[in-house]
């Protein structure tokens, strides 16, 4: 009889523990504090930026120094210039690789976006090859004097401003818009689940249901606003992409004409920019549906791509506010249940 009782108590205790785990509403998904890859890559970029800043400071200090002889100063300055340039290349590689990796992770893209993603990946690979070439030049420092490093840096600066940054901004806009799509889907999913919980509480006449429904309604508004911001960003992006594609044809013909006139590369760039701006203006006057182009006809296309980041930022902030509402609702329910 004693044995029976012993078994009974033991199994009852075990089953109680099992019941606690099975029926408790805690279903914490991935609660472990794993540092996200996004945070890691961001930290690495920040470190690289700091390295560039530190090297720049060192060069400025040397330039201002009165203690060194002119020869010593030139030698030190040359080394420091090379050091800055190496670090700029390293930073650029990290920035480009990070964006490329994030592009690869994008899921559930339709055919058009998938094609764009592939195109952007190729563009970024091209940039990485360019950085490799720069690194090869830097691998032979004995062949680089003060004049040459200045020329290399100037050429890189021009390339970065005219080629890299406009393309890179477009790629990051595309990335942000599509990453935000996943964020919105996740938030909508959470909203639906919470709505079902509130409905269940309403069925059993839970006393705080009215307050919960008000909060839920506010959350729904925020989610809608977040969706609207993202949609605006996407519409703007796609219309600008169309304009850009169309203008690239115009620009190439303009470039041919300009090269016939022996125009310099700077002039070509100016012509290209003018062509793009004109195309934007034309598009805004002819395409009534393009709200973005209509509202900002005289803004250069690069700046318009930049403003897309602002729209995605607004969408992200709205999602953040939505989750704050969810957390407040959670605390409210917890208080009432105690």
């Amino acid at each position: 009889m004693k044995k029976i009782l012993k078994y009974f108590v033991l199994i009852s205790a075990l089953s109680l523990i099992a019941v606690n785990f099975t029926l408790a509403p805690l279903s914490v998904a991935s609660a472990d504090n794993q540092p996200s890859n996004l945070q890691d890559s961001f930290n690495k970029i920040k470190e690289s930026v700091q390295e560039v800043k530190d090297s720049t400071k060192n060069l400025i200090t040397t330039k201002d120094s009165d203690t060194l002889s002119p020869e010593e100063k030139d030698k030190q300055e040359l080394n420091q210039r090379l050091d800055i340039f190496k670090k700029v290349i390293r930073l650029s590689i990290k920035e480009t690789e990070d964006t490329k990796n994030q592009l690869k992770k994008l899921a559930n893209l339709d055919e058009k976006k998938s094609a764009l993603r592939d195109q952007f990946e190729t563009t970024l690979e091209g940039f990485l090859k360019f950085y490799d070439e720069q690194n090869k030049i830097l691998a032979k420092p004995e062949e680089i004097d003060l004049i040459k490093i200045k020329e290399i840096a100037q050429a890189f600066k021009d390339w970065r401003e005219k080629t890299y940054l406009p393309e890179f901004n477009i790629v990051t806009d595309f990335l942000l818009i599509n990453q935000q799509k996943s964020t919105l889907e996740m938030t909508q999913n959470r909203f639906n689940k919470i709505s079902s919980d509130v409905l269940k509480l309403e069925k059993i006449n839970f006393k705080g249901t009215n307050e919960l429904k008000k909060s839920l309604s506010l959350a729904a508004d925020y989610i809608q606003e977040a969706k609207d911001f993202r949609q605006e960003a996407e519409d703007k992006f796609l219309s600008l992409e169309e304009i850009r594609n169309a203008s690239s044809t115009t620009a190439s013909s303009t470039n041919i004409e300009a090269s016939d006139l022996d125009a310099t590369s700077t002039e070509n760039a100016a012509v290209l920019n003018a062509a793009i701006t004109i195309t934007v203006e034309n598009a805004s006057s002819t395409t009534a549906s393009s709200a973005t182009a209509t509202s900002t006809p005289s803004i250069p296309i690069e700046d318009q791509f930049l403003s897309i980041k602002g729209l995605v930022g607004n969408s992200l902030n709205k999602i953040k506010e939505t989750y704050q509402i969810f957390i407040e609702m959670s605390n409210f329910v917890k208080k009432l249940l105690i």
């Binding site: 805690l26 800043k53 400025i60 330039k63 992200l316 989750y323």
Partner: protein, 197 residues
């Protein structure tokens, strides 16, 4: 184990009857060591008769019964099949079932909102990486500025004293100085106190 030991003790205690014992001894003693040797007690010629008699002898009824009981009782019991129904298991399973049903009933009666778990929501918000994405959007401009200023500095002979990198660094230096000044003042005060005292 105790039962087996007891049974072995009992087995040791039981004895064959005197006649059986005596006849058996005789048979063993008269048996020739080798086929050519003569029996020890000269009884070899009658061996067939003796053997015939030996085949007829039987242990007494009591000895036979006790031996059978010991042999059948000890090992056979140990490999006896377990009964299909076990009260211990039955009680335990009943207890488990009772606890599960009660727990489930209590759970259904209590209002819950499993999707409004604070920890889950906070984790989900963290996993969305919203803050990192916002920070990255802001930071992208800073990256461009830093690279642009660095490249400009490589190309210039003279220093741009309005270079934001320098201004930022000097600002940081200046904001750190008052703290060290205060520390120096404290140290001087302490030294003066020591001199005066």
């Amino acid at each position: 184990m105790e039962n087996i030991a007891e049974k072995l003790k009992k087995l040791k205690d039981i004895q064959p009857d005197a006649e059986y014992s005596q006849r058996s001894k005789m048979v063993i003693l008269v048996a020739p060591v080798s086929p050519k040797e003569k029996p020890v007690f000269g009884l070899g010629e009658n061996i067939i008769e003796i053997l015939k008699k030996l085949s007829q002898i039987q242990p007494d009824a009591g000895y036979s019964r006790l031996s059978k009981l010991v042999i059948l009782g000890a090992p056979v019991l140990s490999i006896k099949k377990r009964p299909i129904f076990n009260w211990q298991v039955a009680f335990s399973l009943a207890g488990l079932l009772l606890v599960l049903i009660t727990g489930n009933m209590l759970h259904n009666l209590k209002p819950t909102a499993p999707n409004l778990n604070t920890l889950t929501l906070e984790t989900e918000l963290k996993d969305l990486n919203i803050d990192i994405q916002l920070a990255k959007i802001d930071y992208s401009q800073k990256v461009n500025e830093t690279v642009s200023l660095a490249l400009k500095e490589i190309g210039q002979k003279q220093t741009d004293h309005l270079n934001p990198i320098i201004l930022e660094s000097e600002q940081t230096k200046l904001s750190a100085e008052p703290a060290s000044d205060n520390q120096n003042k404290k140290e001087i005060d302490n030294l003066l106190d020591q001199v005066l005292l």
